[in-house]
């Protein structure tokens, strides 16, 4: 007779097997430059630096350099083949930003929505400088009065 415990174990094992991802993935080989480096080390280092600062769209907290998602591979192929064709990293970044918005880039750019991030610290510094000047100026005046 099969014990209840055995049935329990069978159930546990079944659940373990069911955790295998259900969603299908494509079976195509990766794009030519998804995992292959460029022959010219200077161009490859340019491409790598750029890939580390571009966001993977499928796995949103990784750069496309860090991600194994097929789409990240296809984006790396775009970056490497465009670098090879003579495009500059900043041109490629703007090409992607024109398609996906600022979101795709980890390197913040000044735009209609991000300017407070850049202006904020400058304004704070100016306020601090103003306060300091007034306080120090006052103290000097006090000292002058006392003398």
């Amino acid at each position: 007779m099969i014990s209840q415990r055995k049935i329990g174990w069978f159930f546990v094992m079944l659940m373990a097997v069911l955790t295998v991802p259900l969603s299908a993935q494509d079976s195509l080989p990766p794009a030519p430059y998804a995992y292959n480096q460029l022959d010219d080390p200077r161009l490859e280092s340019e491409a790598t630096a750029l890939m580390h600062s571009l966001r993977c769209l499928k796995c949103q907290s990784q750069s496309i350099a860090d991600s194994d998602a097929p789409m990240a591979g296809d984006m790396r192929h775009q970056v490497r083949s465009r670098i090879l064709a003579g495009e500059s990293p900043s041109e490629i970044r703007s090409w992607l930003i024109a398609r996906y918005g600022d979101y795709v880039s980890y390197e913040p750019e000044v735009s209609a929505t991000t300017w407070p991030l850049f202006a904020g610290p400058i304004v704070l510094l100016l306020i601090v400088a103003g306060v300091l000047l007034r306080r120090l100026g006052k103290r000097r005046c006090d000292a002058g009065d006392a003398a």
């Binding site: 259900l22 969603s23 299908a24 494509d26 079976s27 195509l28 794009a31 030519p32 949103q60 789409m71």
Partner: protein, 187 residues
């Protein structure tokens, strides 16, 4: 003594001032708490709405249907560009809705992402073929060029080849009239 009174006044003011950092902190904690309760928007929308489709010409994704190119979208009426793949589960769910749209007279051009002809053919055999043409995008080249970040996605393209609307995710039953409306708007 006048100086003492002056000091007492400024003392009260600065005591109130002491609460300012805490108030600011509470404000930011409140904002953070509020944002944590909000649903995260995981979709990356295309910023190509209003822009013309880029030039492209893709090989046929399956025998018996033409491949897809920009020329398919120019002239006549607005069309749908459906980004899909045979390996994508939500694409199965939206297949009946694409057929319903086709039955309404909508011309649907597909782009199959990272797909094989035999898999595309199996998919169409099993779930029906609403497409007038399907291009094979083996390296997501056209997908990236139009700012699409996954499968399935559906774009409304007007008769001038300009991208007018993007639907992210599978087309549900309720989305069919909405897409028909967007196609009308693009006229």
């Amino acid at each position: 003594m006048p100086p003492l009174r002056f000091r007492r006044n400024s003392g009260m003011r600065s005591r109130l001032f002491l609460w300012l950092p805490l108030a600011l902190f509470a404000f930011f904690a409140g904002v953070a708490g509020y944002m944590l309760t909000q649903d995260k928007d995981e979709f990356v929308e295309s910023t190509m709405i209003g822009e013309p489709l880029p030039e492209f010409a893709l090989e046929p994704a399956v025998a018996g249907l033409p491949g897809a190119s920009k020329a398919h979208f120019v002239g006549g009426k607005p069309r749908l560009l459906n980004i899909w793949a045979s390996w994508c589960l939500p694409c199965i769910a939206e297949a009946p809705q694409l057929e319903a749209l086709q039955a309404e007279g909508v011309e649907i051009i597909g782009i199959a992402i990272r797909d094989r002809p035999e898999d595309v053919s199996n998919f169409l055999g099993r779930y029906g073929n609403p497409y007038a043409a399907i291009g094979s995008d083996k390296i997501s080249e056209v997908q990236l060029a139009i700012g699409s970040s996954g499968v399935p996605e559906t774009f409304v393209i007007d008769a001038n080849g300009v991208i007018r609307y993007q639907h992210i995710g599978d087309i549900r039953q309720a989305d069919v009239p909405m897409l028909l409306g967007e196609l009308d708007n693009a006229r």
